[in-house]
Structures are given as C-alpha cells and as structure tokens.
Symmetry: C2
Subunit: 422 residues, 2 copies
Amino acid sequence: MKQSQLFTKILKEAPKDEVSVNAKLLVRAGFVHKEMAGVYAFLPLGLRVIEKIKQIIKEEMDELGGEQVFLTSLQDPEIWKKSGRWDDKVVDNWFKTKLVNGADVGIANTHEEPLTNLMKKYISSWRDLPRYVYQFQTKFRNELRAKSGLMRVREFLMKDLYSFSRTEEEFKDFYEKCAASYLKIYSRVGLKDYTFRTFASGGSFSKFSDEFQAISEAGEDTIYIDQKNKIAVNKEVYQDEVLAKLGLKKADLEEKRAIEIGNIFPLGTKYSSVLGLTFKDKDGKDNPVIMGSYGIGLGRLMGTIAEIFHDEKGLIWPENVAPFQVHLLSLGQNQKSEKLYRDLQKVGIEVLYDDRENKTAGEKFAEADLIGIPIRLVVSEKTLKENCVEIKKRGEQKTKLVSLKSDFNKLVEVRLQHFNVK
Amino acid sequence: MKQSQLFTKILKEAPKDEVSVNAKLLVRAGFVHKEMAGVYAFLPLGLRVIEKIKQIIKEEMDELGGEQVFLTSLQDPEIWKKSGRWDDKVVDNWFKTKLVNGADVGIANTHEEPLTNLMKKYISSWRDLPRYVYQFQTKFRNELRAKSGLMRVREFLMKDLYSFSRTEEEFKDFYEKCAASYLKIYSRVGLKDYTFRTFASGGSFSKFSDEFQAISEAGEDTIYIDQKNKIAVNKEVYQDEVLAKLGLKKADLEEKRAIEIGNIFPLGTKYSSVLGLTFKDKDGKDNPVIMGSYGIGLGRLMGTIAEIFHDEKGLIWPENVAPFQVHLLSLGQNQKSEKLYRDLQKVGIEVLYDDRENKTAGEKFAEADLIGIPIRLVVSEKTLKENCVEIKKRGEQKTKLVSLKSDFNKLVEVRLQHFNVK
C-alpha cells in the first residue's frame, strides 16, 4: 500500500502514560491506539500483524483437527452458576451488565462453560468423540490494574481451543500434540529461540498446567530454564519434588524473566460433570467427557514480539508476522519507484511504498526504522545513477546495491530470495 | 471436510422458542446456537458462511480505498458525553458495566465517537483527507425484545465504515460510490434481485439516509418499491414531497415487506464538531471534517439469505456464500467416494463429504437438503454400476449422471463448470 494513503502517522513522542516498551513503540509507530487503560484498538499496521498471527494459529489448529466456531460475548449467568464461577468471589475479574428487564448478563472472560453446555446438544455417544473446537474471540477481564502495554489488558483477542476426549489416554495424546503445535506456532512467528514449554501450577483448573514462556526482561514471570532440553519450570512450582518429577537438576537451571504467551490446561471432568456433558461408552455406560483448554492471546503475542525484537530505532518484525514484507522508500523518484512497487506486488510481495513527497530522506529512514518492516528498498537519484536500488535488512547495517537493468521484476525477486525474504 | 468429523448434527426438531424461519432452519441445521434470547453463537457451518460474507465485503471495502482497523468494545464514557450519547435517555440500548474501581464503562453499540476521537491524532491538514476507515467488530445493543431470529439481536458482528471528507462534494462522491459498492455486495451474496436502495429517515444522525432493503415477508419494514428504477421509499418517509423530490409516482410503486440489510448515513459535522476533529484548509482555516457512516450486519445478512432462499426441505445457499460448494454423499461406497472427495479438493472445490456409515440414504438426502449446499453429488452402487456419479442442484428436481471414466478429476471439474458452480 502507498504510505500517502495510510491514515496513521508516526507520533514524535511516546504518550506519557505508556511506560512499557511494547506500547511505546506500537503506539508511536501507529500499530495500536490506547482507548482506555488496558484497552487498545488495532490500527491498519497492527491489524495486519494480528491477522498474520491469526492465520498461522488457524493453520495449526486446523492441522490438529480443530473446528472453528465463534461463541458469544454476552453470557447467561445460569450456566456459570452451575460451575460456581458466576460468583465474583470465585472469579474476580468479571465484567457484568444487565438487560433492560434487569436480568444479569455476563461479558465473557472465558468460554469453558458455554461451550461445554453447547456440546451437550452434539455429544451423546463414544462415536461423537473426540472433538476439538476453537475460536478467535474477545475476552473481557476486569483487571484491577492494566499494565505492561499489550501484556495485561482488559479486552483482548484470544485463540481458545477446547478438547473433548473419552479417555485420559486420548486426552493426553491430544494435549501433547497441541503442545507440539504451540511450539510450531511460536517458531513460525519468530519466537523459536525464546520460547520454553514451562511447567506451572494449574490455577483454578487443575493442579498443574503447561505454560509457554518467552524469555524477556519485560516478563511478569520468573522461570527456571533448562537450555539443553528446552523446558522450564515456573517459580510458583519450583520445588524439589516437581524438579524430581520432571527429571531436572537445579544445577542445569537458569533463572529468567519471561512473558507467558500461551497455556494449556487439563480440565479433567470439572466442567463436564457439573454441566452434564456425558457420553455413553461401548457398554452403554454414561461417562463425563474429559476436557482440556488451550489458549493464546494474540495481542499479547504481538506485544511480546515487539518487546523482544526492537532496537533503539524501533521495531524489527520477524518476516512471517511483519505488516508488510518490504518497505520501499522513494527519495524524490516516484516514477521509477512506482514501477518497482507494482512489479513487486505482481510477484506477490507485500509492499509498503513510501511515496510521500513532503518528507525528507532522513524522516523516511527514521520512520521506516520505527515501523520495522524486514526489508528496506531505497530508490534515489544516487541509486538510479547506477541503475540500482539499495536493499537493507532491518536490524542490520549492511546495504547492498541491486541492479535494476531491464527486467525489474525477476531481478528483484531473485534478490529478495537471496536475502531470504520469501 | 468429512461430515463424520463435523461436531454439529442435524436437530430433529426446531427449538420451541424459535419462531422465525431463519433461526429455526439455522439452528436445526447446525449453523448457529442460541446462547440467550437475541444472542447466537456461530458453529462451523455458520461461521463458514459468515467468513464468506466477510471476505466479499472486505474486498469491496478495500476497493473503495477503505483501511481496516479493529476498535474496542470497552468504551470510555467521557468521549460519549461530549456527543451527548452516553445518556440512556438519548441512546436507550447501551450495555454498561463498571471497572473494579467503580468507574463506568460502556460496551460499544456503535463506534462513531471513538473513531472520530482517534482520528484527531492523524488528521490536521487538508492533505490528510479524505480517509475511509472500516472494521468488522461486534456491536452490543440492549434491545428490549430480541426477535426474528438473527434479525434483531443483542450482539452481532457488523462491518462499519466511516468516511472523513473535506467538502460536501467530496463526501457525496464517496457516499454514492459506497452505495454502488453495497449493491455489488448484495449482488455477490445472491440478493441482487431482492435488494432495493431505499430512501429513509436519518434517525439520530441526519434528516434522511439510505437503507438497503431486501424484499421478504419476514421483514420488519414496509417499503414502496419502483421495480423499473430499482429504488424504494421507506413507509416512514412515504410522503408526497419526498416522492416528488425523488421523481417517483405513487402509481409506479408497490408496497412490500422488507428486511433492512444495510444503511448509509450522512453524519455531516455532528461528531467532528463536538469532538474537535478539524482540518486546516489551503487557506489555513480550521474546518470540521464532514463524515458519513456505512453499516452492514453480517449475521442479519446471513439470516436474510436464509429467509429468502429456502424451501420446505431446508436451506438453499447461493453459491458465493454457501458453507461448501459441493455436498458429496457416499451411499455405502466410501472407497470410491473418498477418491472423488480428494480429487474435487485438488481442483479447489470446497466439499462437505458425507462419509458417515451409520446413516441411511434417506437420512443423508434429508440432511443434505436441510443444510442446503448448492451442488449434491451422490455415489451409490447404482451410479457406480454405470461408472457414474449423480449430480443435482439444490432447489431443483433434475438429476444427471456424470461418467467417472478414468480421469475423475478433470471430468468432474468440467461437469461442475457445466452446472455453473465455479
């Protein structure tokens, strides 16, 4: 897209009330807008990143056999009363509201109960299982204190998958498959070297759970990582018996700050029992369905990437989640640049084209660095003198002149491949 | 996808509390689930329809130069107080809630105010205009009475676009372009012959507005249509002076019930004035930005399609929004069918493959009719005897045998084209 058409602009200063690095960068560069404390709107550049993350997650969830749904934000209290989670003393971060007739309504902070209740319509026999159901839907959490930019917010888009299994074995098999799928997702979004499957407490769901933690000084959690085996233990369960169970030695562990970028929970029969989600086994006996839940917050993942991949000049997006693959800067050479812009698009490369005429070269360079698109191409009088375009990877110093010659199109494609863009 | 893997099943009876045709059919066929009165979850088949509608709308909005964002559900009352729309006496369908600290928060029922406020960061000069910003985001409306299935609900996904223009002329030019774009959208989703651009009152926004109404006995509105000129007038403004203004003659008009499936509003400077969204013109003078808003409810559009396209056996989806293009029924011939299923997918056809072994032919036919996928293919002992597959369009009686011969793949592709599927 042409940058002259992009409605967002670079903000000179980070807003004073933003203290986290991720929010400062994302707000300044025009990826997000802070609506209220802990409530962020996604602007065109930010939404492109979210959509790319979403597509990667969707592909992996489909690969697992997940079926996509879109549950509701408004929630019937009766369903939640059955599990005991309507009470504010049990779940302390509900947003609640009322219908015109005065009846209470919840605003979903998670979806275990409504989905378990829904599945009763469709599960009755062992033949109906296993099932894996997921969605991308907003969660609302009435956090006492929103903080850390996109990390701890009051409203966020989450991928939540729920598994419905017949036996503990069937459940565990899927649980491990999903854990592997999560590692694949983090790898695809660029966090491979930073992410550790982390043994943690189960919170309100079960005794233990698995978190996926990304190493970052900005993290709220402390974990102990085993670099060699690529696993970790959350401080909250950092006890001798847990380490023994996991076969970990204190001497091999390193203390790190980390951001929780996903979690998977065994739910057992907690919700199926109270809500009556059962299936008849081959002997005609009724059994409660064994469940699991598997979550990834999309905005938090984007914030984590911003925390981990940036320098003093701005953001540095990993290729797979960058809003565009190439940032083409025209320094007073819009005619030649326009052709390159069209040629790049023709071969399927996503280009943000800085065609703005009222910006200096220095401004364009500084803004490109802040936005953080992986490949920068510059067309200037100087490069055109040599019939070239300058190419540079964000985060590296090295620039390279690439000949334009007669066939723009093919050449640039080859050069981009050389730079490992595609 | 294989139907044995689809978690939803056909429900024998429509739920007793559903009276509208669209909800009865969509709930029975497993497209949606009623969470509460006026609150529907979208199940895999239903979400596929929604995603197709969304993609069509997105393409048209991008074509118009729209930039996509994702605004927030939680709303700061201060912004709404400036426009006077926080008060329940002014807007009577707010859902409101409170932060832990007791502060009021709104749950968005529309997004004029927050977007106008946001744009102040990015619009200051005539050079920054015009801009067109849109999103797909949930709206929450505290309706006294939810009714008509997916037509009048308390929570729904909406495409809302907002235009920001410098002059009345620039605004009107876009307004007409958007109206044309809307007609294109309705045509693409299959409603071309049913949709009328309809002159209507402006509600809380302006004196007049344009609605897009789809002719249906299930509609809540009464309109007067001019078939020849493909325009209509809403009963609420069916007055002599209005007809004269539009050049319509009473004798040419026909009274019809219709469903409002979209509306476009001139907003003038109503929100830009009170929220301070101004731009400096070429003479350095400050002017309020001239705005418009343009909405389409996705669930309502899906419900309207269900109301209009069904028969006594079930739904009949128009091709562009069908959850799948082809429904392949195996009558005890899973081996041959499986190959056809894979071959069809290879050529890019979306197939729901009824591979279920515990269903009779009669059950499979009845369920396929209820689900309403445009093309039905049947593989049975009888068709295989002639080395054929039976093809039938939903809503038509005529069946046809298509030879399978050696090259399944190509043949079926050709045959589907013959049936105008692709």
